[in-house]
Protein backbone atom coordinates (compact mmCIF):
# COMPACT_ATOMS: atom_id res chain seq x y z
CA UNK A 1 0.00 0.00 0.00
CA UNK A 2 0.97 3.64 -0.23
CA UNK A 3 2.07 5.65 2.77
CA UNK A 4 -0.82 7.98 1.87
CA UNK A 5 -3.27 5.23 2.89
CA UNK A 6 -2.15 5.36 6.52
CA UNK A 7 -0.45 8.73 7.05
CA UNK A 8 -0.71 12.44 6.39
CA UNK A 9 2.03 14.97 6.02
CA UNK A 10 2.98 18.68 5.90
CA UNK A 11 6.15 20.40 4.72
CA UNK A 12 7.82 23.35 6.44
CA UNK A 13 10.76 25.53 5.41
CA UNK A 14 13.51 27.54 7.06
CA UNK A 15 16.34 28.90 4.93
CA UNK A 16 17.73 26.01 2.87
CA UNK A 17 16.22 23.37 5.21
CA UNK A 18 12.96 21.57 4.52
CA UNK A 19 11.14 19.46 7.08
CA UNK A 20 8.42 16.94 6.32
CA UNK A 21 6.18 15.37 8.93
CA UNK A 22 4.68 11.91 8.50
CA UNK A 23 1.75 11.39 10.85
CA UNK A 24 -0.22 8.16 11.29
CA UNK A 25 -3.99 8.60 10.91
CA UNK A 26 -4.33 5.76 13.40
CA UNK A 27 -1.58 5.65 16.02
CA UNK A 28 -1.70 1.83 15.79
CA UNK A 29 0.03 2.16 12.39
CA UNK A 30 2.91 4.18 13.82
CA UNK A 31 5.26 1.16 14.37
CA UNK A 32 4.81 0.16 10.71
CA UNK A 33 5.68 3.68 9.58
CA UNK A 34 8.61 3.86 11.96
CA UNK A 35 9.96 0.57 10.63
CA UNK A 36 9.64 1.36 6.93
CA UNK A 37 9.97 5.10 6.45
CA UNK A 38 13.64 5.58 7.22
CA UNK A 39 15.93 8.58 6.69
CA UNK A 40 17.80 6.54 4.05
CA UNK A 41 14.62 5.91 2.02
CA UNK A 42 13.63 9.55 2.20
CA UNK A 43 17.11 10.67 1.15
CA UNK A 44 17.00 8.24 -1.79
CA UNK A 45 13.51 9.36 -2.83
CA UNK A 46 14.51 13.01 -2.95
CA UNK A 47 18.02 12.48 -4.37
CA UNK A 48 17.41 15.02 -7.14
CA UNK A 49 16.12 17.70 -4.78
CA UNK A 50 17.94 17.24 -1.46
CA UNK A 51 21.72 17.62 -1.52
CA UNK A 52 22.46 17.51 2.21
CA UNK A 53 21.81 15.09 5.06
CA UNK A 54 18.40 13.82 6.09
CA UNK A 55 17.78 13.39 9.82
CA UNK A 56 14.70 11.65 11.24
CA UNK A 57 13.11 12.58 14.57
CA UNK A 58 10.48 10.36 16.19
CA UNK A 59 7.52 11.76 18.15
CA UNK A 60 5.72 8.58 19.29
CA UNK A 61 3.36 10.55 21.58
CA UNK A 62 1.50 11.70 18.45
CA UNK A 63 2.46 8.77 16.21
CA UNK A 64 4.64 10.87 13.94
CA UNK A 65 8.06 11.17 12.34
CA UNK A 66 9.77 14.39 11.29
CA UNK A 67 12.35 14.42 8.49
CA UNK A 68 14.76 17.36 8.43
CA UNK A 69 16.48 17.71 5.07
CA UNK A 70 19.43 20.07 4.53
CA UNK A 71 20.40 21.79 1.26
CA UNK A 72 16.89 21.04 0.12
CA UNK A 73 15.56 24.37 -1.10
CA UNK A 74 17.77 25.45 -3.99
CA UNK A 75 20.10 27.51 -1.79
CA UNK A 76 17.31 28.94 0.37
CA UNK A 77 13.70 30.02 -0.02
CA UNK A 78 14.64 33.67 -0.57
CA UNK A 79 16.99 32.98 -3.52
CA UNK A 80 15.78 29.69 -5.02
CA UNK A 81 15.00 29.49 -8.75
CA UNK A 82 12.41 26.77 -8.15
CA UNK A 83 8.74 27.33 -8.95
CA UNK A 84 7.90 26.02 -5.48
CA UNK A 85 10.69 27.87 -3.68
CA UNK A 86 9.39 26.80 -0.26
CA UNK A 87 9.33 23.12 -1.22
CA UNK A 88 5.75 23.03 0.07
CA UNK A 89 4.75 20.33 -2.42
CA UNK A 90 7.37 17.84 -1.19
CA UNK A 91 5.04 16.24 1.38
CA UNK A 92 2.81 14.85 -1.37
CA UNK A 93 5.72 13.06 -3.05
CA UNK A 94 6.69 11.41 0.22
CA UNK A 95 3.15 10.06 0.72
CA UNK A 96 3.50 8.18 -2.58
CA UNK A 97 6.09 5.90 -0.95
CA UNK A 98 5.27 2.16 -0.89
CA UNK A 99 4.95 0.53 2.52
CA UNK A 100 4.13 -3.16 3.19
CA UNK A 101 0.52 -4.03 3.96
CA UNK A 102 -0.38 -4.49 7.62
CA UNK A 103 0.15 -8.05 8.86
CA UNK A 104 -3.22 -9.80 8.99
Amino acid sequence: MKLRDIAHSRTGDKGDISNISVIAFDEADYPLIEAHVTAERVKALFHEVVHGEVVRYAIPSIGALNFVMRQALGGGVTRSLALDAHGKCLASALLDLEVPDRAV
Partner: protein, 447 residues
Protein backbone atom coordinates in the same frame (compact mmCIF):
# COMPACT_ATOMS: atom_id res chain seq x y z
CA UNK B 1 -8.14 28.56 37.68
CA UNK B 2 -7.79 31.72 35.62
CA UNK B 3 -8.01 31.17 31.86
CA UNK B 4 -7.80 33.56 28.91
CA UNK B 5 -8.74 33.23 25.27
CA UNK B 6 -6.25 34.36 22.62
CA UNK B 7 -7.20 34.60 18.94
CA UNK B 8 -4.90 34.44 15.94
CA UNK B 9 -5.97 37.00 13.34
CA UNK B 10 -3.43 36.40 10.55
CA UNK B 11 -1.01 33.67 9.53
CA UNK B 12 0.95 35.82 7.11
CA UNK B 13 1.03 39.36 5.77
CA UNK B 14 -1.49 38.89 2.98
CA UNK B 15 -3.94 36.73 4.93
CA UNK B 16 -7.75 37.06 4.86
CA UNK B 17 -9.09 39.87 7.04
CA UNK B 18 -12.70 38.94 7.85
CA UNK B 19 -11.81 35.87 10.00
CA UNK B 20 -10.04 38.33 12.34
CA UNK B 21 -13.18 40.48 12.50
CA UNK B 22 -15.18 37.34 13.24
CA UNK B 23 -12.79 36.53 16.11
CA UNK B 24 -13.11 40.05 17.52
CA UNK B 25 -16.90 40.09 17.29
CA UNK B 26 -17.80 36.51 18.23
CA UNK B 27 -14.66 34.85 19.62
CA UNK B 28 -15.01 35.96 23.24
CA UNK B 29 -11.26 36.63 23.17
CA UNK B 30 -9.13 38.93 25.30
CA UNK B 31 -6.19 39.16 22.87
CA UNK B 32 -6.05 39.28 19.08
CA UNK B 33 -2.61 38.53 17.65
CA UNK B 34 -1.52 39.18 14.06
CA UNK B 35 1.68 37.44 12.89
CA UNK B 36 2.54 39.03 9.56
CA UNK B 37 6.32 39.01 9.07
CA UNK B 38 7.88 36.54 6.65
CA UNK B 39 11.65 36.01 6.58
CA UNK B 40 12.31 38.60 3.89
CA UNK B 41 9.59 41.16 4.71
CA UNK B 42 11.69 43.46 6.91
CA UNK B 43 14.56 43.59 4.40
CA UNK B 44 12.12 44.79 1.73
CA UNK B 45 10.31 47.14 4.14
CA UNK B 46 13.67 48.68 5.04
CA UNK B 47 13.93 49.92 1.44
CA UNK B 48 10.48 51.54 1.68
CA UNK B 49 11.48 53.26 4.95
CA UNK B 50 14.66 54.67 3.39
CA UNK B 51 12.60 56.25 0.61
CA UNK B 52 9.93 57.59 3.01
CA UNK B 53 10.41 57.67 6.81
CA UNK B 54 6.64 57.32 7.38
CA UNK B 55 6.62 53.94 5.58
CA UNK B 56 8.26 50.54 6.10
CA UNK B 57 5.45 48.77 7.95
CA UNK B 58 3.01 46.08 6.80
CA UNK B 59 1.12 47.17 3.65
CA UNK B 60 -2.17 45.77 5.02
CA UNK B 61 -1.85 47.41 8.47
CA UNK B 62 -4.34 50.20 7.72
CA UNK B 63 -6.93 47.82 6.24
CA UNK B 64 -6.61 45.40 9.18
CA UNK B 65 -6.80 48.10 11.84
CA UNK B 66 -9.78 49.76 10.13
CA UNK B 67 -11.56 46.40 10.23
CA UNK B 68 -10.85 45.34 13.82
CA UNK B 69 -10.22 48.47 15.96
CA UNK B 70 -13.86 49.20 16.69
CA UNK B 71 -14.93 45.68 17.74
CA UNK B 72 -11.70 45.27 19.73
CA UNK B 73 -12.25 48.61 21.49
CA UNK B 74 -15.87 47.79 22.29
CA UNK B 75 -15.02 44.40 23.77
CA UNK B 76 -11.78 45.37 25.49
CA UNK B 77 -9.64 43.12 23.29
CA UNK B 78 -5.94 43.97 23.21
CA UNK B 79 -4.02 43.65 19.95
CA UNK B 80 -0.44 42.33 19.61
CA UNK B 81 1.21 42.32 16.19
CA UNK B 82 4.55 42.42 14.37
CA UNK B 83 3.04 44.52 11.56
CA UNK B 84 5.55 47.25 12.49
CA UNK B 85 8.09 45.47 10.25
CA UNK B 86 10.96 47.94 9.67
CA UNK B 87 9.13 50.88 11.24
CA UNK B 88 7.00 50.11 14.35
CA UNK B 89 6.80 53.80 15.34
CA UNK B 90 5.30 54.80 11.98
CA UNK B 91 2.90 51.83 12.20
CA UNK B 92 1.81 52.97 15.68
CA UNK B 93 1.30 56.55 14.45
CA UNK B 94 -0.79 55.27 11.54
CA UNK B 95 -2.86 53.12 13.92
CA UNK B 96 -3.40 56.14 16.21
CA UNK B 97 -4.64 58.18 13.24
CA UNK B 98 -7.03 55.40 12.21
CA UNK B 99 -8.38 55.13 15.79
CA UNK B 100 -8.99 58.91 15.82
CA UNK B 101 -10.69 58.79 12.44
CA UNK B 102 -13.03 56.12 13.86
CA UNK B 103 -13.73 58.34 16.87
CA UNK B 104 -12.18 55.83 19.29
CA UNK B 105 -10.70 57.62 22.29
CA UNK B 106 -8.24 56.70 25.00
CA UNK B 107 -6.46 53.91 23.11
CA UNK B 108 -2.88 53.44 24.23
CA UNK B 109 -0.55 52.20 21.50
CA UNK B 110 2.99 50.89 22.08
CA UNK B 111 5.71 50.61 19.43
CA UNK B 112 8.44 48.10 20.27
CA UNK B 113 11.75 48.69 18.50
CA UNK B 114 15.36 47.66 19.07
CA UNK B 115 15.35 44.61 16.81
CA UNK B 116 17.34 46.53 14.17
CA UNK B 117 20.95 45.51 14.95
CA UNK B 118 22.51 46.27 11.55
CA UNK B 119 25.10 48.72 12.92
CA UNK B 120 25.95 46.45 15.87
CA UNK B 121 26.43 43.50 13.57
CA UNK B 122 28.61 45.46 11.13
CA UNK B 123 30.88 46.82 13.84
CA UNK B 124 31.54 43.62 15.77
CA UNK B 125 33.31 40.41 14.84
CA UNK B 126 30.28 38.36 13.89
CA UNK B 127 29.92 35.54 11.41
CA UNK B 128 27.20 34.38 9.06
CA UNK B 129 25.84 31.05 10.34
CA UNK B 130 25.29 29.38 6.96
CA UNK B 131 28.66 30.29 5.38
CA UNK B 132 31.01 31.02 8.29
CA UNK B 133 31.95 34.22 6.46
CA UNK B 134 32.60 37.36 8.59
CA UNK B 135 29.64 39.78 8.42
CA UNK B 136 32.10 42.60 7.69
CA UNK B 137 33.03 40.93 4.38
CA UNK B 138 29.45 41.46 3.14
CA UNK B 139 29.11 45.00 4.48
CA UNK B 140 28.52 46.56 1.05
CA UNK B 141 25.66 44.17 0.26
CA UNK B 142 23.82 44.26 3.60
CA UNK B 143 20.37 45.87 3.66
CA UNK B 144 19.03 44.79 7.06
CA UNK B 145 19.81 42.84 10.22
CA UNK B 146 17.04 42.21 12.72
CA UNK B 147 17.33 40.24 15.93
CA UNK B 148 14.43 38.03 16.94
CA UNK B 149 13.36 39.72 20.19
CA UNK B 150 11.49 37.79 22.86
CA UNK B 151 8.32 38.39 24.85
CA UNK B 152 9.82 40.77 27.47
CA UNK B 153 9.25 44.16 25.77
CA UNK B 154 5.66 43.16 24.84
CA UNK B 155 4.98 42.15 28.45
CA UNK B 156 6.36 45.50 29.59
CA UNK B 157 4.11 47.36 27.13
CA UNK B 158 1.06 45.41 28.36
CA UNK B 159 1.99 46.18 31.98
CA UNK B 160 2.11 49.87 31.07
CA UNK B 161 -1.48 49.55 29.87
CA UNK B 162 -1.02 49.33 26.11
CA UNK B 163 -4.20 48.34 24.24
CA UNK B 164 -2.23 47.75 21.05
CA UNK B 165 1.38 46.57 20.87
CA UNK B 166 3.15 46.87 17.51
CA UNK B 167 6.58 45.32 17.06
CA UNK B 168 9.18 44.73 14.38
CA UNK B 169 11.02 41.39 14.35
CA UNK B 170 9.97 39.30 17.32
CA UNK B 171 9.96 35.50 17.50
CA UNK B 172 6.50 34.53 16.21
CA UNK B 173 5.46 32.48 19.29
CA UNK B 174 6.56 35.37 21.59
CA UNK B 175 3.64 37.45 20.27
CA UNK B 176 1.34 34.86 21.90
CA UNK B 177 3.56 34.02 24.87
CA UNK B 178 3.69 37.65 26.07
CA UNK B 179 -0.03 37.95 26.91
CA UNK B 180 0.18 34.66 28.86
CA UNK B 181 3.21 35.83 30.86
CA UNK B 182 1.46 39.15 31.57
CA UNK B 183 -1.95 37.70 32.50
CA UNK B 184 -0.66 34.86 34.67
CA UNK B 185 2.37 36.62 36.14
CA UNK B 186 4.70 33.85 34.98
CA UNK B 187 8.39 34.23 35.78
CA UNK B 188 10.67 34.80 32.78
CA UNK B 189 12.61 31.79 34.11
CA UNK B 190 9.68 29.40 34.53
CA UNK B 191 10.99 27.26 31.68
CA UNK B 192 8.22 24.67 31.90
CA UNK B 193 5.41 27.25 31.55
CA UNK B 194 7.33 29.25 28.97
CA UNK B 195 7.69 26.02 26.98
CA UNK B 196 3.94 25.39 27.24
CA UNK B 197 3.08 28.97 26.32
CA UNK B 198 5.48 28.83 23.39
CA UNK B 199 3.72 25.73 22.08
CA UNK B 200 0.41 27.62 22.13
CA UNK B 201 2.12 30.39 20.15
CA UNK B 202 3.62 27.93 17.67
CA UNK B 203 0.27 26.24 17.10
CA UNK B 204 -1.56 29.55 16.56
CA UNK B 205 1.00 31.59 14.61
CA UNK B 206 -0.09 30.34 11.16
CA UNK B 207 -3.77 31.04 11.90
CA UNK B 208 -5.90 28.90 9.54
CA UNK B 209 -3.23 26.21 9.25
CA UNK B 210 -4.54 24.65 12.47
CA UNK B 211 -8.26 25.04 11.77
CA UNK B 212 -8.31 22.96 8.59
CA UNK B 213 -6.46 25.25 6.21
CA UNK B 214 -3.58 23.69 4.25
CA UNK B 215 -4.97 20.27 5.21
CA UNK B 216 -7.68 19.19 2.77
CA UNK B 217 -6.99 16.26 0.42
CA UNK B 218 -10.35 15.33 -1.12
CA UNK B 219 -11.41 11.76 -0.39
CA UNK B 220 -8.61 11.32 2.14
CA UNK B 221 -8.78 14.35 4.41
CA UNK B 222 -11.93 16.35 3.70
CA UNK B 223 -12.54 19.74 5.30
CA UNK B 224 -15.82 21.63 4.95
CA UNK B 225 -16.17 25.38 4.59
CA UNK B 226 -12.67 26.45 3.55
CA UNK B 227 -14.03 29.56 1.82
CA UNK B 228 -15.04 30.85 5.23
CA UNK B 229 -12.39 29.21 7.36
CA UNK B 230 -12.46 30.23 11.01
CA UNK B 231 -9.20 31.29 12.65
CA UNK B 232 -8.01 29.62 15.86
CA UNK B 233 -8.52 30.48 19.50
CA UNK B 234 -6.40 29.12 22.35
CA UNK B 235 -8.03 28.82 25.75
CA UNK B 236 -5.04 28.85 28.09
CA UNK B 237 -4.88 28.32 31.84
CA UNK B 238 -2.38 29.80 34.27
CA UNK B 239 -0.81 26.33 34.69
CA UNK B 240 0.00 26.32 30.96
CA UNK B 241 -2.79 23.93 29.97
CA UNK B 242 -4.51 24.78 26.71
CA UNK B 243 -7.42 23.95 24.41
CA UNK B 244 -7.39 24.86 20.71
CA UNK B 245 -10.77 25.83 19.25
CA UNK B 246 -12.45 28.27 16.85
CA UNK B 247 -15.61 30.37 16.55
CA UNK B 248 -18.74 28.18 16.43
CA UNK B 249 -20.29 28.13 12.96
CA UNK B 250 -17.14 29.18 11.11
CA UNK B 251 -15.67 26.97 8.37
CA UNK B 252 -12.90 24.43 8.79
CA UNK B 253 -12.21 21.99 11.64
CA UNK B 254 -10.00 21.69 14.70
CA UNK B 255 -9.04 18.04 15.16
CA UNK B 256 -6.10 16.17 16.66
CA UNK B 257 -4.88 15.64 13.08
CA UNK B 258 -4.89 19.35 12.15
CA UNK B 259 -3.07 20.07 15.42
CA UNK B 260 -0.44 17.38 14.78
CA UNK B 261 0.37 18.76 11.33
CA UNK B 262 0.81 22.23 12.72
CA UNK B 263 2.87 20.99 15.68
CA UNK B 264 5.60 19.76 13.32
CA UNK B 265 5.31 22.61 10.81
CA UNK B 266 8.74 24.29 10.43
CA UNK B 267 10.13 22.28 13.35
CA UNK B 268 13.52 20.57 13.29
CA UNK B 269 14.37 18.71 16.52
CA UNK B 270 11.01 18.62 18.35
CA UNK B 271 12.88 18.33 21.68
CA UNK B 272 14.78 21.58 21.08
CA UNK B 273 12.75 24.41 19.56
CA UNK B 274 14.91 27.49 20.04
CA UNK B 275 13.25 30.81 20.81
CA UNK B 276 14.61 33.95 22.52
CA UNK B 277 12.57 33.12 25.65
CA UNK B 278 13.04 29.38 26.11
CA UNK B 279 14.28 26.23 24.42
CA UNK B 280 10.93 24.51 24.13
CA UNK B 281 10.50 20.74 24.10
CA UNK B 282 7.54 19.45 22.05
CA UNK B 283 8.72 15.82 21.92
CA UNK B 284 6.13 14.53 24.46
CA UNK B 285 3.13 16.56 23.30
CA UNK B 286 -0.29 14.86 23.17
CA UNK B 287 -3.58 16.00 21.66
CA UNK B 288 -6.97 14.88 22.96
CA UNK B 289 -10.35 15.63 21.45
CA UNK B 290 -12.61 17.26 24.04
CA UNK B 291 -15.60 17.98 21.82
CA UNK B 292 -16.49 19.32 18.38
CA UNK B 293 -13.63 21.60 17.25
CA UNK B 294 -12.04 21.43 20.71
CA UNK B 295 -8.64 19.77 21.16
CA UNK B 296 -6.70 19.73 24.41
CA UNK B 297 -2.93 20.03 24.14
CA UNK B 298 -0.56 18.84 26.86
CA UNK B 299 2.98 17.69 27.45
CA UNK B 300 5.18 20.58 26.31
CA UNK B 301 8.00 21.77 28.52
CA UNK B 302 11.15 23.86 28.26
CA UNK B 303 14.76 24.48 29.21
CA UNK B 304 16.73 27.72 29.84
CA UNK B 305 16.79 30.17 26.96
CA UNK B 306 19.85 30.47 24.70
CA UNK B 307 22.54 33.10 25.40
CA UNK B 308 22.33 34.36 21.83
CA UNK B 309 19.57 35.79 19.67
CA UNK B 310 19.06 34.75 16.07
CA UNK B 311 19.53 37.63 13.65
CA UNK B 312 17.93 37.63 10.22
CA UNK B 313 20.34 39.28 7.78
CA UNK B 314 19.08 40.70 4.48
CA UNK B 315 21.52 41.28 1.61
CA UNK B 316 21.48 42.04 -2.10
CA UNK B 317 22.15 38.62 -3.56
CA UNK B 318 21.61 38.52 -7.32
CA UNK B 319 19.07 39.05 -10.11
CA UNK B 320 16.58 36.51 -11.42
CA UNK B 321 15.20 36.51 -14.96
CA UNK B 322 12.37 34.25 -16.07
CA UNK B 323 10.20 33.47 -19.08
CA UNK B 324 7.23 31.14 -19.62
CA UNK B 325 5.18 29.99 -22.60
CA UNK B 326 2.47 27.32 -23.04
CA UNK B 327 1.84 24.49 -25.54
CA UNK B 328 -1.33 22.40 -25.65
CA UNK B 329 -3.03 19.59 -27.55
CA UNK B 330 -1.43 16.72 -29.49
CA UNK B 331 2.36 16.89 -29.38
CA UNK B 332 2.40 19.54 -26.64
CA UNK B 333 5.07 17.71 -24.66
CA UNK B 334 7.42 17.38 -27.66
CA UNK B 335 6.94 21.04 -28.58
CA UNK B 336 7.62 22.06 -24.99
CA UNK B 337 10.82 20.02 -24.93
CA UNK B 338 11.90 21.51 -28.26
CA UNK B 339 11.24 24.99 -26.87
CA UNK B 340 13.51 24.30 -23.90
CA UNK B 341 16.27 23.04 -26.21
CA UNK B 342 16.01 26.15 -28.35
CA UNK B 343 16.21 28.51 -25.38
CA UNK B 344 19.15 26.57 -23.94
CA UNK B 345 21.02 26.93 -27.24
CA UNK B 346 20.06 30.62 -27.60
CA UNK B 347 21.32 31.50 -24.11
CA UNK B 348 24.69 29.92 -24.98
CA UNK B 349 24.80 31.39 -28.49
CA UNK B 350 24.06 34.94 -27.36
CA UNK B 351 26.36 34.69 -24.32
CA UNK B 352 23.86 35.35 -21.56
CA UNK B 353 25.87 35.30 -18.35
CA UNK B 354 23.98 33.20 -15.82
CA UNK B 355 25.50 31.50 -12.79
CA UNK B 356 22.55 29.13 -12.44
CA UNK B 357 19.80 28.09 -14.87
CA UNK B 358 16.65 25.97 -14.64
CA UNK B 359 14.64 24.50 -17.53
CA UNK B 360 11.22 23.33 -16.32
CA UNK B 361 8.12 21.94 -17.96
CA UNK B 362 5.24 22.93 -15.73
CA UNK B 363 2.77 20.05 -15.69
CA UNK B 364 5.59 17.55 -16.17
CA UNK B 365 8.61 17.96 -13.90
CA UNK B 366 8.83 21.51 -12.51
CA UNK B 367 8.05 20.72 -8.87
CA UNK B 368 9.76 17.47 -7.90
CA UNK B 369 12.33 17.03 -10.67
CA UNK B 370 12.37 14.48 -13.48
CA UNK B 371 13.11 11.33 -11.42
CA UNK B 372 10.00 11.63 -9.23
CA UNK B 373 7.72 13.03 -11.92
CA UNK B 374 7.65 10.19 -14.44
CA UNK B 375 5.66 7.85 -12.18
CA UNK B 376 2.28 8.48 -13.88
CA UNK B 377 3.57 7.84 -17.41
CA UNK B 378 0.67 9.62 -19.14
CA UNK B 379 1.38 12.48 -21.51
CA UNK B 380 -0.13 15.77 -20.28
CA UNK B 381 -2.66 17.62 -22.47
CA UNK B 382 -0.82 20.90 -21.96
CA UNK B 383 2.59 21.99 -20.74
CA UNK B 384 4.13 25.30 -19.76
CA UNK B 385 7.76 26.01 -20.52
CA UNK B 386 9.64 27.82 -17.76
CA UNK B 387 13.22 29.02 -18.04
CA UNK B 388 14.74 30.86 -15.09
CA UNK B 389 18.28 31.98 -14.31
CA UNK B 390 20.44 33.91 -11.88
CA UNK B 391 22.54 36.79 -13.17
CA UNK B 392 24.71 39.64 -11.93
CA UNK B 393 22.62 42.46 -13.39
CA UNK B 394 19.00 43.28 -14.17
CA UNK B 395 19.84 43.78 -17.83
CA UNK B 396 21.32 40.29 -18.09
CA UNK B 397 18.28 38.85 -16.26
CA UNK B 398 15.93 40.46 -18.80
CA UNK B 399 17.69 38.63 -21.64
CA UNK B 400 16.46 35.27 -20.25
CA UNK B 401 12.77 36.19 -20.47
CA UNK B 402 13.36 37.71 -23.90
CA UNK B 403 14.72 34.42 -25.24
CA UNK B 404 11.51 32.68 -24.11
CA UNK B 405 9.28 35.39 -25.55
CA UNK B 406 10.93 35.23 -28.98
CA UNK B 407 9.71 31.63 -29.22
CA UNK B 408 6.45 33.21 -30.39
CA UNK B 409 7.78 33.85 -33.88
CA UNK B 410 10.97 31.76 -33.84
CA UNK B 411 10.09 28.63 -31.87
CA UNK B 412 7.78 25.60 -32.11
CA UNK B 413 4.22 25.84 -33.48
CA UNK B 414 1.30 27.21 -31.49
CA UNK B 415 3.10 28.56 -28.43
CA UNK B 416 0.93 30.96 -26.41
CA UNK B 417 0.63 33.04 -23.30
CA UNK B 418 4.28 34.07 -22.99
CA UNK B 419 5.23 36.03 -19.88
CA UNK B 420 8.57 37.36 -18.70
CA UNK B 421 10.00 38.99 -15.60
CA UNK B 422 13.26 40.20 -14.15
CA UNK B 423 13.86 41.21 -10.54
CA UNK B 424 16.59 41.91 -8.02
CA UNK B 425 16.79 39.44 -5.17
CA UNK B 426 17.19 40.41 -1.54
CA UNK B 427 18.01 37.13 0.17
CA UNK B 428 18.32 36.17 3.83
CA UNK B 429 21.06 34.62 5.93
CA UNK B 430 21.38 34.44 9.69
CA UNK B 431 23.81 35.27 12.47
CA UNK B 432 23.84 34.79 16.24
CA UNK B 433 24.23 37.81 18.51
CA UNK B 434 24.86 37.84 22.28
CA UNK B 435 21.44 38.78 23.62
CA UNK B 436 22.62 41.77 25.65
CA UNK B 437 23.65 43.52 22.42
CA UNK B 438 20.02 43.92 21.32
CA UNK B 439 18.32 46.70 23.31
CA UNK B 440 14.53 46.73 23.03
CA UNK B 441 12.83 50.12 23.40
CA UNK B 442 9.14 51.06 23.76
CA UNK B 443 7.43 54.25 22.61
CA UNK B 444 3.84 55.03 23.67
CA UNK B 445 1.20 57.04 21.82
CA UNK B 446 -2.43 57.80 22.64
CA UNK B 447 -5.40 58.18 20.38
Amino acid sequence: MKTIRIGSGAGYSGDRIEPAVELAEKGDIRYLVFECLAERTIAIAQGAKLKDPTQGYDPLLAERMLAVLRPCHEKGIRIVTNMGAANPAAAAAKTRDIARSLGLEGLKIAAVSGDDVLETLKSGEHRIEETGEPVSAMAGKLVSANAYLGAAPIVEALKAGADIVITGRVADPALFLAPQIFEFGWSMEDWDRLGKGTLVGHLLECAGQITGGYFADPGVKDVAGLARLGFPIAEVGEDGSAVITKVAGSGGAVTAATCKEQLLYEIHDPAAYFTPDVVADFSQVRFTREGPDRVRVAGATGRPRPATLKVSVGYRDSFIGEGQISYAGPGALARGRLALEIVRERLALTGVEATELRFDLIGVDSIHGSALSTAGGQEPYEVRVRVVGRTGSLKEAQRIGNEVETLYTNGPASGGGATKSAKDVVAMLSALLPRELAKPAIEFMEA
